[in-house]
Subunit: 197 residues, 4 copies
DNA sequence: CGGTAAACGAGACGGTACGTCGTGTCTTTGA
DNA sequence: TCAAAGACACGACGTACCGTCTCGTTTACCG
């Protein structure tokens, strides 16, 4: 089991400056937020971060990949367990937070990353695993606690429930046919996950 | 002697050759289906359609706009009223068709257009009005007939119901975390719009 | 002597509006003076003259041709015979006029036409016959009168003399290494065509 | 710690491949000789030189500038001092060479550059300093030697003499109203700079 | 006086070239 | 070995004119 570090683990030559990576991500994030995906060009990132283009390529293969990294860097998973509250209240709070984020200019970035994930499989996988899966996991956890506590009736198909609560949110975010308000989230949850009794 | 300022309805100059427009859209559609949005370049369209680049710009302002036009050109609204069936059966049939379309390579185009609609307001509006709205309208119509016939219980919020059935479909299409099968559509409809009694 | 007009000489159809030709030439001339030869585009002429592009092509084959026509339209031959003066004084006056013209912004047009005449034989011929030849003819005439009156010694090679007076003028106009002043003209004439006795 | 602002003499980054520049100039020269100025397009140069268009723009701002550079690259100044001969013979030889050059297809290029120099000040300056001035300088030098050796009478205005010998040459080159032969050059020199005694 | 023919404006269309931007790779020097 | 700077080929961009064409409309003449 002892992993044999042949020679590759031994850092040779000039070590990478951690500030370089951070500067690139910060620049990419800024460009992503105003300007959307098309504004995230290697050129612009290099300029803004004070870094040469080849350096960026040493870290990521192309511009969307940097954008995705920048996006995932900030967007942490929701911290599911705010212990004091009831799981049902925590669930509501979590979705209120999502609604707020989607309504804010940051929601623009989410949409951009959805778009980016269409073209390249690698990005799609990253987005799915790092962003989508995390959100679903956090919600699934809370739902299971609700069920344990008898706050909601156990659903026939848990994954379908997750699709039913997240689907409409992304649908509105991406189509923009209607706003994403807390009221909307409330009606959505009341319909899909009604409190039992 | 009074020169009549031509009231804009009078076509002046050489009329446009309808084949030109058709050729451009056909080329764009083909490129969109394999290759996705990034493959739809003015250059490639011009080549494929046997048309000069400036001609394309005479019709549309940029590549995504052509792609959107090509997409909307084929994608007609679902023909809601297959008279013989019950509205509820028609509803199911309609969503089965959507599921089939989304699962087919054409679904790729839908995702691409969602992505395209993120960057430009004009495209977003077109996509919303021509594609999203049409689909919702068709479904809304069928739902109202079902209610009239007492096949389903009248929902508190019709728009929310529409979000609940379309949202998960687009969610799966865009995230790709799970396939869009007829079985999925059935479970979805059974949950959101259960047949009354 | 009675020319038989078969049918081609008889003007059929709507006669050309003389204002059209004039408007085109005026526009071309204006564009030529500021902006030089590159500014004389069919597009710009059409715009400025309020005329359609095909109309211009009905009169001339291409833009430089219009420019040349516009140039030659204004630039009449010098009126050699100002009867009252002595031929020698007339000669001087004529070259002073040329110097003035070359020094003025109109000189810019002359240079432009020299440039234009390089590319196309047709233009070169027109320029040579309409502009160069006329100027040489007028000067040759005056020189011959001077010789008749015994004001100057008869030169061995008249054409060389013409090259010697016109050459340096065009040389300075085109190279711009020195200004074209009346003083320069005077020194030039004094050297090449000194008054006899 | 004080970052030294690189004093421009230190070459940073990848150095330019000298073959690139050479290839561009060679291509431009070839295009210039047959086809004239209008044939010297960036597109054509890139094609012929096996170089990308942006690369050309990295060296020169536009097509005429490349043409001028190509022209000046070959056209070295005449080597005035062929020591063995008398300065007067050298003078004659020099102008015979010019006549030959002007009469050859290369003369076409000279005319083209005169034309090109009309539109842009930068080009005019380059042409004047690199080509016109060099030729005048070489001739002026020989003339001064002739005067020193008492071969010709000292002229009142040296610059005028230079205009008188070069002017007619360019005049004939550009107007094409008469050929540029050695005989013409001889008559020209005999008239303007007669051997004294 | 009505038909015919050309003039003319407007604009479509295939081209060619423009000058620019971004990409991804490579080659230097310097840390 | 990393990092910077910049060279370079490539591909696409959106624009400007070109020269030709197809229309509809207008204006003369001629039978």
């Amino acid at each position: 089991m002892a992993r044999q570090p042949p020679s590759s683990t031994v850092p040779r030559g000039r070590p990478r400056d951690p500030r370089t990576r951070a500067a690139i991500l910060a620049a990419a994030r800024a460009l992503l937020e105003r300007g959307g995906l098309t504004a995230v060009t290697i050129e612009a990132i290099a300029q803004k971060a004070g870094v040469s283009r080849p350096t960026i390529y040493r870290y990521w293969p192309n511009a969307p990949a940097v954008a995705m990294a920048a996006f995932l860097d900030v967007t942490g998973a929701p911290d599911a367990a705010r212990s004091t509250r009831s799981p049902y209240a925590a669930l509501r709070a979590q979705f209120h937070a999502v609604a707020d984020a989607f309504a804010a200019p940051a929601g623009r970035s989410v949409a951009a990353m959805v778009a980016a994930a269409q073209s390249e499989t690698e990005l799609a996988k990253a987005f799915r695993n790092e962003f989508i899966a995390r959100n679903r996991d956090a919600t699934r956890l809370l739902l299971e606690r609700c069920i344990e506590d008898g706050l909601i009736a156990p659903p026939a198909d848990m994954e379908l429930v997750l699709d039913l609560v997240f689907g409409p949110l992304f649908y509105r975010l991406l189509m923009g046919h209607a706003p994403i308000t807390r009221g909307f989230v409330d009606r959505l949850l009341d319909t899909v996950i009604p409190a039992s009794a």
